[in-house]
């Protein structure tokens, strides 16, 4: 973990923003995910997708959310800020379709932090995830909640 500063619950503050990078989604990935988890016609078949009001084949919203999770883990949870689990997410909205070839970029906004009353070793962080496409349009938002450990005594700030 060289050169990566570790973040504890104590380091999160409402108003912070984290830029967590971009990824491009291919038609092959869209169809592969949808065949496994969301085989509605507009996610798996270009021709069938024409019968729906989305202008063509689009990614499953669950695929978009899963890509957000991957970017969240890669950018924050894996090394910088390992979490102690999440009770869930709220207010997820799929605002615009994600299409083959789109490049999506994730920004996290810290909304609130709360100390745990029952468990003094951790606290809750509430973040708003904002996923935008290459045209700058917001395609997905959600609020997620995660528990993070509090800085142990003696750990470098």
């Amino acid at each position: 973990m060289t050169g990566v500063s570790r973040l504890y619950w104590d380091d999160f503050r409402a108003g912070q923003a984290f830029e967590l990078g971009s990824r491009t989604v291919s038609k092959e990935e869209i169809v592969r995910f949808a065949r496994a988890f969301d085989p509605q016609p507009f996610h798996v078949d270009e021709a069938a997708a024409q019968r729906y009001p989305y202008g063509g084949l689009i990614a499953s919203g669950w695929h978009t959310a899963s890509m957000v999770m991957r970017m969240f883990v890669d950018g924050l949870l894996a090394e910088r800020a390992p979490s102690m689990g999440s009770p869930g997410v709220d207010e997820l909205r799929w605002l615009k379709p994600v299409r083959p070839g789109d490049t999506v970029t994730l920004t996290l906004h810290v909304v609130e932090t709360r100390a745990s009353r029952s468990k003094p070793d951790r606290g809750l962080v509430i973040v708003r995830h904002e996923l935008r496409n290459q045209s700058g349009e917001t395609v997905m938002t959600m609020l997620s909640k995660g528990f993070f450990p509090r800085r142990p005594a003696g750990a470098a700030a």
Partner: protein
Amino acid sequence: MIYFEDVEPGTVRETGTKTVTADEIIAFAREFDPQYFHLDAEAAKDSMFGGLVASGWHTASMTMRLMVDSFVGDTASIGSPGFDDLRWLKPVRPGDTIRVRSTVLDKSPSQRRPEIGSVRFRTEALNQRGEVVMSLTSIGLYRRRPSAG
């Protein structure tokens, strides 16, 4: 074909079942949620879960698959704008069998798009012990019944 007009608040439907394997848990996590307790059964023993567990997003995705297979084809559903109040309540472990129970809460016609309406559901994923492992309030968009003539 179930159109918006045919949806009745209070209706409860259940899907078929899906048994999840360790290989599937690891494959999903490698691609979408590479935290160690979703990837490595040995290392996961020391985690808060005490063993390998599925990513919550994998549980959610399996839930969607069960619903598409069991209900969505019967309906004039055209997708979803999102969901609220998703809670991961209990871990999902290799060998667990999931089924989904869906209860219609309410429905409302779209203000902006008269050809569709919106339906809210309470969606619950249950394991083989009948425990709710995940719940959420799903929102579905349905085509309205085409006018005759």
